[in-house]
Amino acid sequence: MDMEIMRQLAVIFGILFVLTTISAGLIWLERRLLALWQDRYGPNRVGPFGLLQVLADMVKILAKEDWVPPFADKTVFIMAPAIIMVSAFMSFAVIPFAPGICIADMDIGVLFFLAMSSLGVYSVVLAGWASDSKYSLLGGMRAAAQMVSYEVFMGLSLMGVVMLAGSFNINEIVEAQRKLWFVIPQFPGFVIFFIAGIAETHRLPFDLPESENELVAGYHTEYSGMKFGMFFVGEYLGITLISALIATLFFGGWLGPVLPPVVWFFLKTFVFICLFILFRASYPRPRYDQVMFLAWKIMLPLSLLNLVITGAIVLLETG
């Protein structure tokens, strides 16, 4: 019994450690990859391949003054960046990294993830509200509208997978992909989920909550130092989370030949993280009403259609 608890704790802290390392390393990865695709080199001076840039950035951001603007709502202002980190970390509890390496093997894993990603909206909205500045407020409002609309079909796009696997448990969804990755029968679901995931983590092309050239920095305009850093960690955790989920739900998670399961999981996740960064390097930001148009008039009907067709096929097969 004691050994079991020790093992659980080791898994929890191991995952926590890996995740924080990844989200810090992504700063470097993103800058290097963006540079790579823009014919530059990116940070390559500090340490081998510029890897110690991460350390330099951390020292800088931790040594900065912890500043709360006098006009801000202090409690909420401080709480907001914590919420995004907590909700992002919580979602990872249901992700199976490998058989047996999963913090909470819940029967409602998919629903838990959706709930946690909805909580993440609060962080952005509260940050925008508590900052008491026009840019922050506009950014927060945009974030609220965007994330709420994209959440609707984010959940719907996953229902096809859930139907095929017959379970909300992410471990069982992975096991159900032994024969065929769900990306093949659920290709529309995959595309819709990916788009919703980009919007959910408000990355380019859907980074309207923080669009630099119109809203300064959107909801985190007034933030600096480590509180700003926490938003960034939250964003990178979000990217990792969405990538991990895409890998798990559509690309067989830790399933794969020869290499150990954990390696397969991280390899698949890494590909999607790179894809996130590639999209940032490629696409311009659409207008706000275009983002809403895409969500409600194209993506929502498409995901409903996908749901209905998948449901019909599942019924036919079992029926």
């Binding site: 695709w37 823009q38 014919d39 530059r40 080199y41 590639l278 999209f279």
Partner: protein, 171 residues
């Protein structure tokens, strides 16, 4: 939709294109010969200072970073007693070079002048003065000037008449 994927693919292919960045300290960028960099004071071919301390450079300087003090030696040749350029102010516009009547002050192609202390950017005459002639080899102001200042006597240069003894012209 297809165009979006094509766009991303095009960006991805940029991975293999040559880099635009010049890795500066290792590879130096091309510097054109007329580059306006660190300012120097040149000497004439005989090794004397070209500067005649006329103050025109100090007047032309838009940021007022040049300070000097005129002096005169025993032959009546003018030179700067001190000549100081504050490079933390200098904007490398080259107006001083244009203003200089004797080609003394010149801008060079050197641009690597970083210092740890601001005071190190104040260059004195001994820092500015070089041993060569810079861009204009052969030119010596006092050889073509009408003034006798220890280099040549009056009327000895190629383009001037020997001085006339006005008293001898009297009837």
């Amino acid at each position: 939709m297809l165009s979006l994927i094509k766009g991303a693919w095009a960006v991805l292919l940029h991975m293999f294109s040559p880099r635009v960045t010049i890795q500066y300290p290792e590879t130096k960028p091309y510097v054109p010969p007329r580059w306006r960099g660190r300012i120097i004071l040149s000497r004439d071919p005989d090794g004397g200072e070209r500067c005649v301390a006329c103050y025109l450079c100090a007047v032309a300087c838009p940021v007022g970073c040049i300070a000097l003090q005129a002096a005169e030696d025993e032959h009546g040749r003018r030179y700067p007693a001190f000549f100081r350029i504050n490079f933390s102010r200098c904007i490398f516009c080259g107006f001083c070079e244009e203003a200089c009547p004797t080609y003394a002050i010149q801008l060079t192609t050197d641009y690597e002048m970083s210092e740890y202390k601001r005071t190190s950017l104040v260059y004195e005459k001994e820092d500015l003065l070089i041993s060569g002639t810079g861009k204009y080899p052969g030119y010596n102001f006092y050889r073509v000037a009408g003034l006798a200042a220890g280099v040549k006597d009056k009327g000895e240069s190629g383009n001037e008449e020997p001085p006339v003894d006005v008293k001898s012209l009297l009837p």
